[in-house]
Each structure stands twice: as structure tokens, then as C-alpha cells.
Amino acid sequence: MADSAFESRIEQALEDETLRRNFASALGAFAARRRSVFPDGRALERLRTQAAAIRDRALARLPELLEELESRLTANGIRVHWAETAAVGCRLVLEILEAHGVRRVVKGKSMVSEEMHLNAFLARHGIETVETDLGEFIIQLAGETPAHIIVPAVHKNRAQIARLFQEKIAGAPYTEEVTELNAIARRTLRERFREAGAGLSGVNFAVAETGTLCLVENEGNGRMCTGVPPLHIAVMGIEKVIERLEDLPPLLRLLTGSATGQRVTTYVNLISGPRRNADPDGPREVHLVLLDNGRSAVYADPELRATLRCIRCGCCLNHCPVYARIGGHAYGTTYPGPIGKVLTPQLLGIDRAGELPFASTLCGACEEVCPVRIPLAHLLRRLRAEAVRSPASRGDRRGSGRPDRLERLAWWAWGQAVQRPSIYRAILAGGRWLGGLLPPVGPLERWMRTHAEPRFSRRNLRRILRRQGIPDA
């Protein structure tokens, strides 16, 4: 049976022992740190309930909050732009940069900008964008995309990074000392911060009440990007707005605790405006691009809307047995892991990414840790049902997850059998007679790639029970 591109990437990833080791050790450490930062299980459950309610309420009032946010930001001197698609968002950013004659940009970590493929777009228009988060810097040098939402270079070990720096950074010696590697990055990037004409960033939360953009980070590169250049452009998905400032403390606790097991990040940067008249520094202009890019379509369905609660902590990745084994790149999407499997088919279309929700055992480990209680396993099931219902796909049928005729026929037959006791009993009898003598084709062939052939029992449960005097009613 021909495998899809996704399946081939999975098989490749499974064969890469280094990759699996790198992921397994990192994710195990994150999970352990999370447990230690939330030692009181009941308090954590209360906090998760509170955070889910905060996000739910914000989503329920989303159009009103976006308007409130816009008007507060505008009053604070931050210019707000709206983009329906990634392409429009990219163009808006480019137009702002071109209006200021900016050619060099420093950038803080932003998943939404990855979703927009912003760097590549700006490069095509002659604008150089330098990623300044250490992990992002590493993968930019390697010409890769993030393998994880929070720790983008988690798939690389120090030897791989040492070789990369030696190759790509002029004058950098080969060293596997982490402090040395950090020092090389610091030296390289400090010049970039000084010279950049603009800083780009994402947004973790936007507070409607006060017109404030909240950015969390540990390195200080985000503060550099939003504080050193004369122009700061932030990009944000429309779902990231929250109602009030008082909603921030519980969300921040959960975000950092769930993401990296930290009580708090080194910096929480609250931006409510550009430099004011008497200020000695700060950007002269701050812009915010609000990106829809399919989110309003997700929003339309009250059940699927829970997807938009996500605060991008990556905790579901850290606890996912599938992600742990294949890493982020195998998904071939901006957002990997459980949340990626739920979000991507909704953003790109079920006919293009419908197979993603099937790549889960529905074990529920993600749901158990999600800080905003997104019912991930339930949404995966829902999206599987959507894939089954979806019309014929535009491209790779296997990528759509849409079952072929044979599978549809099999499920139809299954439905007939489980509804009719006589057929069901006949099939059981057939199994007892056949034992393990099924031809290894189709699903059974796939099962038998790693398993022995299942053998039907020769024993007839119903007959034995009857003999034991167990009544049939």
C-alpha cells in the first residue's frame, strides 16, 4: 500500500536515533519540571479551570474585545491593522517597513509569523530578517523551521549546533561549550540589534481593557527587538485577546509552568505604546497586525472554537507519545503535535490536512495537561468525522485522510454486522473456524508489519456461558 508523504516522513523520523534521543530527553525534562512547578495537583486543576474560563469568556466576546483592543491601542498610539489572510498580513508588514525605508529587521520568536512565512516573503522583497531568539537563530542558520513551538531547536544537540556555527558564522570556532555557543550568538546578534531599522515580534496576550501587548521571554532578545529599533511591528492572531489585566497573572503562571516548568519567565514585557515625548528611548512607532487567516472560520463552530483557547505553551507536544517519537518536522506543518493536528486541518482545510487527526492514539495525555482544557482528543475525533464527510480532495488523497471506497465499504459492512445479532454471531463463528488464517492484505498487512497475526479464539463464549447457566436476558 502506498504511504502518504506524511507517513514517509514519520518512517524517516523513526529511523533517526539521534533525533529520537534528542526529543525524548528534552521532553522528559520538561514534563518533570512541570510536575515540580505545580506540586499541588488540586491547585493546578483549579487554575486550569479558571484559565479555561478566562479564555472561553474572551472568545465569547471576541468581536467586542477586538474592537475595544483596537480603540485602546489607538488611543495609546499603537497603530492597528487587520489582515484576513497570511498574504495580506505579509504585505501589510512589508508596506510599513518600506514606508520607513527599512532593509534590516530583527525578530523575536513568533509562531504566527511562521504561519505567515513572513521571513521568506520579506526576503523576496529584499528585506533581511534576523531571528534573535537563540533557538530560532540556530534553525534560521540551518535553513529549517521550528521543530517545537517553544524550543524550536530542541531537535539539535550541541555537536550539531557547534558544526552549524562554525560553518555559518564568520570567525566562529568549533566549540561544544554551551556558554561559548551562547557567547557567539550574543556577539553576532548585538550588532544586529544596534543596526536594525525595525523589530518584529509576536504577542502572547493582548489586554483589551488597557490596550496592552504582553510578550514573555527569557533571553531579552524580545525586549531588544521591541525596544532598540525605532519601529516595532507586532503580529498576532485575533484569538489572543483577553478581557482584563487581572486575567494575566493566572494565564502567565500556566503558560510558563506548562511550557518550560518555570514559575515565571525572566521577562514579561507589557507594551502599551510607542515612546512618549519625554522618553529617552523606545520605538517611535508601534504597529499591530491582527491576523485572521482562517481563525474566524474555526470560530464559527462552537465545538471547534475551543481550539482558539490555545495559549501556545507546547505542553501537549511535551506529553505526546507520537510527537516524542517523530519530532516537529515530520508533521510538515507550522504547528506540530496534538494542537497542530487539531488546528492545521482547520486553518488549511480538512481536504489538505485531514490525515493529521488520524495520527493519534487518542490516548488523552495532551488533554490531561492542556492548561486551558482544550478537549484535544475529542476535537481529533470530530475532525476525523469531518475528514470522512469531506468532499474529494484537491491533491494527495492520502493527505486528506479521506477514506477510500474500500474502507467506506468495510465500515458499512461493519455497521450492518454490529446492528444485526445474527450476522454478528455468524462472523464470530467464522472467526472461530478460520482461527488465524486471514490473508495478510490491507489493514492486516499493515498490522503484521510489527505484530504477529491475531488469532481468533476457538472458544464460543456464548455457548460456554449458556452451559454455565448464565441467562440470556
Binding site: R325, F358, A365, V388, W414, P421, A452, L465
Partner: protein, 250 residues
């Protein structure tokens, strides 16, 4: 202090399709363990599959049809004992979600209220006390995802194991990690399923135990199939079968 649990006179058994097809002795073990406590078991003959395979494959209509069939076949007021946590979870937590129609949903909710996973029934419903008659033995335990997160009955299974005096339970280092079965996942993503099962087997082997006990037939099918494919000297066994074996003649 021990509270006498409310013991029903009779229960219905929902055997599950995997048990009927592959592990009939598991149903017999459950019937025996319950029968010993003086509770009568009835086996409604119209039962088939809970519908979870279709539900998880995205075939909602077929899953609904299966659910309707079971609700019909297992009508009445008696508790319904299920020897597999994932099937129990399907019937208890997902049946109500299958039906948009309020009347059907209400019926599904009443039905869901009767579902009880067998180990929970033994511990919380019957207050079973076991007498271990077997030789000293080292085993390990695999928490099925549905037992752990959906039915939350792992403490019951562990209480039953703890009641076996001569059985030493060696925990897995990744006890709560999925074994990789996932129903349709195992045939849609065979490489991933195999990799997860292989890691689980390595974890089991590292305990030095020769048997892994679980309470879910899906996991057992996966683990036993992977064990046999590798020719390992290991055995995956349902907790009910294990309890029956250990308490024979007791």
C-alpha cells in the same frame, strides 16, 4: 473502617467484541469473580460492539447505529459490567455525545449511568477481598489510557493487585504512556504503533517481570501481537484472567 458497598443482586455483562473474538476466557473470569460474590450475571444476547472503532475512525453514523443497538440489547435498569475500560469509556462518556436529539441523548445518559468497568465494580461495588493461592511472582502493570484518563479506574486495578500477597508489582518507568494501539491508529500508522509498542516492551523487559497485566483488551492485543512477533519470553494478560488464576481454589 470499611463501608459495605451496595451490592446489586444481578448485573448485565457486556463482553465486548474483542473479548468475544479473541479473549473469551476474560469474560469467563469476570463472570466467575463476580459470581463468587453472590451476584448473578446475565448475558443479553443481542449485544455486539460498543461502536468505538467506527467512532474513532470518524464514521459517526455507523457508531450511532452500534450505540443504538447496544442500548436496545442491554435495556433495563441493571448495572452493565464491562471488562475493558476503553469500551466502558465509549459507552459511559461518548454515547451521550453521539445523539443530538434530546430524547435520545437523555436515554444515552441514563444508559451511561449504568456502565461500570469491571475492576471498579469488584472494588467499589462489591468490596472484593482476594486470597492469593499462587506461587511468588513478579509482574508489571500497564495503565491503559482509557482506564487511566477516561474511566479513572487504575486505583481499583492496583488495589486488586495489591490484594495478592505473593505477587510483587514492579512499576514500569513510563507506566502512564500509551502502548501505541489506538484502534484504527494501529493500521493507519503501523510504523508509529510498532515504535510505541517496542518502547513499551523494552520498558516491560527492564522490570524483569515476565508478565505484564492490563485491564484493556486493545492494549493486550497490541502488546501480545508485538511480543509474539519478536518471540519474547513475555506474556500480556488481562487482570481478570490473572486474578482468576491467582485465586483458584481459594
Amino acid at each position: 473502617m470499611s463501608l459495605a458497598p451496595r451490592k446489586p443482586a444481578r448485573v448485565q455483562l457486556f463482553a465486548t467484541c474483542l473479548v468475544e473474538a479473541f479473549f473469551p476466557e476474560t469474560a469467563l473470569a469476570v463472570v466467575e469473580l463476580i459470581g463468587r460474590e453472590g451476584v448473578a450475571v446475565v448475558f443479553p444476547p443481542g449485544q455486539s460492539c460498543c461502536g468505538q472503532p467506527a467512532y474513532n475512525a470518524g464514521f459517526r453514523e455507523e457508531a450511532r447505529a452500534a450505540a443504538r443497538r447496544q442500548m436496545d440489547a442491554l435495556a433495563g435498569e441493571l448495572p452493565i459490567v464491562v471488562p475493558s475500560a476503553s469500551c466502558a469509556g465509549m459507552m459511559k462518556h461518548h454515547y451521550p455525545r453521539l445523539f443530538p436529539d434530546p430524547a435520545e441523548r437523555a436515554a444515552a445518559e441514563r444508559f451511561a449511568g449504568r456502565i461500570v468497568e469491571w475492576s471498579e465494580f469488584l472494588v467499589r461495588g462489591l468490596g472484593v477481598r482476594l486470597h492469593d493461592t499462587g506461587p511468588p511472582l513478579k509482574v508489571t502493570w500497564h495503565s491503559s489510557c482509557h482506564a487511566l484518563r477516561e474511566m479513572e479506574v487504575v486505583p481499583c486495578a492496583k488495589a486488586l493487585l495489591a490484594g495478592l500477597e505473593r505477587v510483587e508489582l514492579v512499576p514500569l518507568s513510563h507506566e502512564t504512556e500509551c502502548c501505541g494501539f489506538g484502534g484504527i491508529f494501529s493500521v493507519k500508522q503501523p510504523a508509529l504503533c510498532g515504535a510505541m509498542a517496542a518502547d513499551k516492551l523494552a520498558d516491560i523487559q527492564a522490570t524483569g517481570a515476565e508478565r505484564v497485566i492490563a485491564g484493556d483488551c486493545g492494549c493486550l492485543l497490541n502488546l501480545q501481537g508485538a511480543i509474539e512477533a519478536r518471540g519474547l519470553a513475555l506474556r500480556a494478560q488481562h487482570l481478570a484472567d490473572f486474578l482468576r488464576e491467582r485465586t483458584r481454589g481459594g
